[in-house]
């Protein structure tokens, strides 16, 4: 399947602490020791979310060519032991804590969608 969600997140992991982070950081935020690059899982569950109901201030926000539409955003918990902030390509009324999601790198910030959704 083609699409941004197939582009896995490139984070990092500390061997000593088993702490994973995104984006990759050469140092572990917990112990300060070296962290190695790690490709993170492409699936997870939604830990929390909200909906951006109004257009954020521009700059820095870049309004899409088609105009602003409210969008969902949330933290996706991965089996790697990290929660990653992502734009949710899901209609706001369908978003529920705990829902299984696919997550990928997208063009800029991470993006997530329901498992099985064509993205």
């Amino acid at each position: 399947m083609e699409g941004p969600l197939n582009d896995r997140l490139h984070g990092s992991r500390c061997a000593g602490c088993a702490v994973a982070v995104y984006p990759a950081d050469p140092a572990c935020p917990r112990c300060g020791g070296p962290a190695a690059p790690a490709v993170l899982s492409g699936t997870g569950t939604l830990w929390t979310w909200t909906v951006q109901r109004y257009a954020p201030k521009s700059p820095p926000y870049v309004v899409p060519a088609a105009g602003f539409d409210p969008f969902a955003v949330g933290y996706v918990e991965l089996p790697d032991g990290v929660r990653v902030l992502a734009v949710l390509d899901i209609p706001p009324e369908e978003v529920v804590i705990g829902m299984p999601l696919r997550i990928g790198a997208g063009d800029g910030v991470p993006r997530a969608a329901t498992v099985g959704a064509a993205v």
Partner: protein, 382 residues
């Protein structure tokens, strides 16, 4: 050296309503009011600490206050600006470096939401371009998960804001002084689910100054001093959940507010059960709900019953944000932390007017929380 050695002998505040005044002009007014309250001249101040986030350097205030040569340290510590200035002033008194010290916090922000830049937070520009550099999203996501875990309802969020506006009506220096009921607050338009427009504070303006002194100086004054039993500032530890985080660790988040509150109570030799009135950071309704538990005033989830019962109202068993908090006063970042302390000082003196907590409260607590994971707490007694 015991914490009882530090007294607040003067407190000054400006109106937090929008005016044409600059942040520095507000700061000068607040300092003069605090000095008058203490009955001390500016020349008597031996150390000064203060700052703003967006309204200039505090040390330049000497041009208006008087060129006495006093050492004046600028503090710029986000939401903990006031708290950090206060801790510095406390340390100056405790160390003996000064017997009279000033802490001042002031600010003036443009209307509308704050507009942080990704680079200042070490983030890729994409987080700004794609609309994730929005502080309100974080607060919404934190309370969203908290409601899920602890059974807090949207009605409770509305009741917190309803109380804030009701207290603002009774506070002559508040910005928002019109009552709003829970139904209006719930219907005011969703900003970031589950938070509606009237559940949020807005960036605003205001200034607060406090004059601190040793107990020996306080005895000579005709002022009405309050003991500052603890003033602490902490930054986050690993495992917390903070604004502008592209990732967060798993597990139940820990809280820098919990760390700061515990340390403040330990220093004061008191506990949450001993507190008669408190001010908790309420940048939005959810924050007050969560900070009640994070600071130790109730169990997680207990807020649903407590708030509905009226416990946190001015005449309740634990009055919270008696001056209307950030929701009714707005958020001038540099001033809010000291506004809370000013309110407790007035409550303990019995000088809080229409918003006075009944039966002579004798102990109070203040708490601020801010990005990127900082908290300042104080404990005061009569």
């Amino acid at each position: 050296m015991s914490a009882e050695d530090v007294m607040i002998c003067g407190a000054g505040i400006t109106s937090f309503a929008r005016t044409e005044a600059t942040g520095r002009q507000l700061a000068v007014r607040a300092v003069r009011a605090a000095l008058a309250d203490a009955g001390l001249p500016w020349s008597r101040v031996r150390a000064a600490y203060g700052g703003s986030d967006a309204a200039g350097n505090a040390d330049t205030l000497v041009a208006e206050l008087g060129l006495t040569g006093v050492p004046f340290v600028n503090v710029r510590n986000g939401c903990a600006t006031g708290g950090s200035a206060l801790v510095s002033a406390v340390n100056a008194i405790r160390s003996g470096a000064a017997d009279v010290a000033l802490a001042v916090g002031f600010d003036k922000h443009p209307r509308g939401a704050f507009d942080p830049r990704p680079a200042d937070w070490g983030l890729d520009e994409a987080y700004g371009h794609e609309g994730l550099m929005v502080t309100t999203q974080f607060f919404a996501m934190k309370i969203q998960r908290y409601m899920h875990d602890h059974g807090i309802s949207a009605q409770t969020l509305a009741l917190v804001a309803e109380k804030a506006y009701a207290n603002g009506v009774r506070n002559p220096h508040a910005w928002r002084r019109e009552p709003l009921d829970a139904a209006e607050i719930l219907a005011s338009g969703m900003v970031n689910d589950p938070l509606t427009r009237y559940m949020f504070c807005s960036p605003g303006q205001g200034a607060v100054a406090l004059i601190l002194c040793s107990r020996a100086v306080a005895r000579q004054l005709d002022a009405d001093p309050v003991a500052l039993r603890a003033a602490v500032v902490r930054t986050r530890r690993f495992g917390s959940f903070e604004v502008f985080s592209p990732w967060a660790p798993t597990g139940t988040p820990i809280s820098v507010s919990t760390d700061a509150a515990r340390l403040a109570f330990e220093q004061a030799g008191l506990g949450p059960d001993d507190i008669d009135v408190c001010q908790l950071q309420d940048t939005e309704s959810g924050a007050e709900v969560m900070h009640l538990a994070e600071c130790g005033f109730c169990e997680h989830g207990e807020q649903e019953r407590l708030i509905a019962s009226g416990a946190t109202a001015i005449d309740g068993t634990l009055p919270v944000n008696t001056d209307g908090g950030c929701i009714a006063n707005g958020e001038p970042i540099g001033a809010s932390g000291l506004r809370q302390v000013h309110e407790i000082v007035q409550q303990l003196r019995g000088r809080a007017g229409e918003r006075q907590v009944p039966d002579g409260p004798s102990s109070g607590f203040t708490h601020v929380y801010g990005a990127p994971g900082v908290s300042a707490c104080t404990v005061l007694t009569r």
